[in-house]
């Protein structure tokens, strides 16, 4: 089935459409993901800037705090300059009061105090305890340290580069140092506050926005004040950072921008992907801060969502394609079933059409006959047929059932029906009709094994004589004063035996007798329990007195009521003939007499005429007149038509009509027109009267019409006498 679907060009087009739809869907989703990535990047930038500002503020807070601590104690230092021993308490208070400051010193400018050329009390916090010590040792030698020299030279407060204070706090720190002037504006001492970078990185600049993102704080000279754990070493400078696999050009730019205290963002390309670096200065310190965000971090979630979405979409598409195929398959199956059904339906229709085209036209209304017929085709048409027509005042009828069903049966039915029409057109003996049909059918049907049960009847409407011949068909019902099955010889059906000579039978119908013919679709109609309709039910319907059509309608109703919902398995065909001619006298009677040209046979003619006169109840005078006319005409032939000694025949036909008698006298003798002979003059006297001419004179006087013709070597004299 699937293969078959794939073989169709249309299917491929549909598959292409599905694929296109999938591409569009994926493209839409890609576009969406892309938008998400972009917005994530924007968000990342915002976050980075926010981290930058926050960190800057936090650092500035720390710085402000440290600077503030120094500034706010400067006056005490100035004031204590005369009593340097109290300076230690100042540094101690600064460390105690300022959380961000881990150490504080007041280092006297050497030589300012003559008594104390080197004096530098220092307090710092060690594990929460304040320790006091002096930086004015030989080992430390404070005046050489940067934190002391730079403010002394610039006269301004400044922040040192980060350094490991081995002499003081032994921690990585940066120091704010500021000169303290005496009232004479002479620099007397340098005052400091140490900020632990460890503390700083613990308290500020937490970049929690992405797991792999981090921030870096650079000093003025490019030393890392704050950064990933590994970089928190004095030796780790930007040059070291440089060693990471950034592309050189971008990194150089970043470095110079940062050291120049500029603000911005730069994209670095690394083997693991793009990295964004947002950077900006930390005011007043000369430091620069950078937030480093690897691009893949930014859209990691988005990418995960994207992948999940893509997988879901592919699953959905797969399902969609499966559904499409299923629908296509069931549609094709439906189409095939439908095609088969339609084909069957059209075959059935053909069979039905053939059958229905064979139905004879209804007879014009007659007083001597009530006839009705019906054929109810089954869904799968059988080969039932019936036919009837009137010829020579005879009803010629038949009913039959072709074995098998469908179009083949219909065709055999058609042939049988045509044969019936052809044969019965020239033959009114049912036995010979059936024999002839069988003969022709055997020629046509030798190959298939079909046969036809057939009943043919010829009903003489004048006298009710029913001649019939049965060829294996159901015996019809004969309805007289009681109901019985017509006695039929169980002959073989048509199409079985070549050369079969069928025997006819006959019976006589009287006024009001009827004949009911049917096919086995009636008797074998089944109810849902497979019970047969049977003959008893048939008979029960026939008991009621009805018109021919009424009987058939009643029978149909009875069958329908009996079978209920059971499907009709065979054609139902019925023919009902009600004989209604109560005239015992035939309308036309033919009598035939053949005489030799022997005058001694004239008495036979007299008898012939006498019989006709009796049948027609003619009076004596009329009978004698007819006798006389016929004798004169026939005598004429006997005596004069043939030469002496030659045997010849005179043919006398008599037709008895309702209102007249018709005699036709023919002979094969020499042509002679008696009507042209001279007539006797009946007005003459005895002496003048001739002996001849009286005969024809009598014929003319007795008969109403006398006509002569010579045809096919015969003298034909037609005489008509009205009665």
């Amino acid at each position: 089935m699937i293969k078959k679907i794939l073989e169709k060009k249309k299917t491929w087009i549909q598959i292409a459409q599905v694929v296109l739809a999938a591409i569009i869907l994926e493209a839409a989703s890609f576009f969406q993901i892309n938008l998400l990535v972009k917005s994530s990047r924007r968000e990342a930038a915002l976050k980075a800037n926010s981290v930058l500002s926050t960190t800057e503020y936090e650092i500035r807070d720390v710085i402000d705090e440290a600077e503030q601590a120094v500034r706010s104690n400067m006056w005490i230092v100035q004031w204590c300059m005369d009593n340097p021993d109290s300076l230690m308490s100042v540094t101690r208070r600064i460390v105690e009061d300022t959380p961000s400051v881990v150490g504080s010193a007041v280092a006297l400018v050497p030589g300012y105090n003559k008594d104390l050329p080197f004096f530098a009390p220092y307090a710092h916090s060690v594990n929460g305890e304040i320790e006091e010590l002096s930086l004015a040792t030989d080992k430390y030698n404070y005046p050489v340290h940067e934190w002391f020299i730079e403010p002394l030279e610039t006269g301004m407060g400044c922040w040192s580069e980060p350094y490991m204070d081995t002499g003081g706090g032994n921690i990585l720190m940066t120091t704010y140092s500021r000169p303290v002037n005496d009232p004479h504006n002479v620099t007397a001492a340098i005052m400091t506050a140490d900020v632990s970078l460890e503390w700083l990185s613990q308290h500020v600049g937490k970049v929690n926005i992405y797991p792999q993102a981090f921030s870096i704080l650079l000093s003025q000279k490019g030393k890392v004040l704050m950064g990933p754990a590994d970089s928190l070493k004095m030796s780790f400078t930007v040059q070291d950072w440089e060693k990471s696999s950034f592309d050189q050009e971008s990194f150089d730019k970043l470095k110079s921008e940062m050291l120049a205290g500029k603000r911005g963002v730069i994209t670095l390309h690394t083997p693991t992907g793009i990295t964004y670096v947002h950077y900006g200065p930390v005011s007043r310190t000369g430091w620069s801060m950078a937030v480093v965000i690897p691009d893949r971090e930014v859209y990691k979630d988005v990418r995960r969502i994207g992948i999940i979405c893509a997988i879901l979409q592919i699953l959905a598409l797969a399902m969609l394609i499966y559904i499409l195929f299923s629908v296509a398959r069931s549609w094709m199956e439906y189409q095939q079933t439908k095609d088969i059904e339609e084909k069957m339906e059209s075959e059935l229709q053909i069979g039905r059409d053939i059958q229905m085209s064979m139905i004879p036209k209804p007879l014009p209304g007659r007083e001597d006959l009530d006839i009705a017929a019906v054929i109810v085709p089954a869904k799968q048409v059988g080969g039932d047929l019936y036919d009837y027509y009137i010829r020579d005042n005879k009803l010629i009828f038949c009913i039959g059932d072709v074995s098998g069903k469908g179009v083949p049966a219909s065709l055999v039915m058609t042939v049988t029906r045509s044969l019936f029409r052809n044969v019965s057109a020239q033959e009114d003996d049912p036995a010979r009709i059936v024999t002839d049909i069988n003969h022709s059918l055997m020629d046509n049907m030798s190959e298939n094994e079909m046969f036809v049960t057939f009943f043919c009847g010829v009903l003489d409407l004048q006298n009710g004589l029913l001649r019939y011949c049965n060829a294996g068909h159901n015996a019809p019902f004969l309805l007289t004063d009681h109901i019985e099955e017509l006695h039929v010889a169980p002959n073989l059906p048509l199409g079985v035996l070549e050369g079969m000579v069928y025997e006819g039978q006959e019976t006589s119908l009287r006024y009001d007798d009827a004949l009911y013919l049917y096919t086995d679709g009636v008797s074998e109609a089944e109810d849902p329990d497979h019970q047969l309709f049977g003959l008893e039910r048939t008979e029960a319907v026939l008991h009621q007195r009805r018109s021919a059509q009424g009987h058939l309608d009643a029978m149909r109703e009875a069958i329908e009521a009996f079978v209920q919902d059971a499907p009709q398995s065979d054609d139902i065909t019925m023919l009902f003939i009600h004989y209604l001619n109560d005239n015992t006298q035939p309308a036309i009677m033919a009598r035939h007499l053949i005489l030799h040209n022997n005058i001694q046979q004239i008495p036979q003619l007299a008898e012939f005429v006498e019989t006709i006169a009796e049948e027609k109840n003619l009076d004596q005078a009329m009978a004698m007149s007819l006798n006389l006319a016929l004798e004169e005409a026939v005598t004429n032939v006997i005596l004069y038509a043939y030469p002496d000694g030659i045997d010849g025949l005179v043919d006398i036909e008599a037709y008895i009509h309702d209102d007249c008698l018709e005699f036709i006298i023919s002979d094969s003798g020499k042509p002679f027109d008696p009507t042209a002979a001279p007539e006797a003059d009946v007005t003459l006297g005895v002496e003048e009267r001739s002996i001849g001419g009286l005969g024809i004179y009598l014929v003319r006087n007795i008969m109403d019409t006398v006509s002569y013709r010579y045809e096919n070597g015969k003298n034909i004299l037609v005489m008509i006498k009205k009665i």
């Binding site: 005058i599 001694q600 004239i602 008495p603 007299a606 004596q620 005078a621 004698m624 007149s625 006798n627 006389l628 004798e631 004169e632 005598t635 006797a680 009946v682 007005t683 003459l684 006297g685 005895v686 002496e687 009267r689 002996i691 009286l694 005969g695 004179y697 009598l698 006087n701 007795i702």
Partner: protein
């Protein structure tokens, strides 16, 4: 068809019994030879028992009538039934014979 001929005095009577059709006429034409040989006096043709007559029968009657006329005889047709009378009338024979 039978013909009985009797002669009594001057009266000859021919009694026809049966049907005087064509074959019968052929026989009768011989039976009536005595009358034709002596067609004198009164000739009575008794048709009381004659049921039928054809043109050949009529010709026999006419032959007798002609013979009688030649010899001065008188022919009487007696007791013809109505049917035969019709034929006589039709053929004008009523005028040729004296019908009783």
């Amino acid at each position: 068809m039978e013909v009985f001929i009797e002669k009594e005095n001057n009266v000859t009577t021919a009694r026809f019994v049966g049907r005087l059709d064509t074959p019968a006429s052929q026989e009768v034409s011989q039976s009536i030879e005595p009358i034709l040989n002596d067609p004198t006096g009164t000739i009575v043709l008794d048709c009381k028992e004659m049921s039928y007559i054809s043109s050949s029968g009529l010709r026999i009657f006419l032959t007798i009538r002609k013979a009688a006329a030649a010899k001065g005889g008188n022919v009487i047709v007696k007791d013809i039934n109505n049917d035969i009378r019709q034929v006589f009338m039709m053929t004008g024979f009523l005028n040729l014979f004296e019908i009783q």
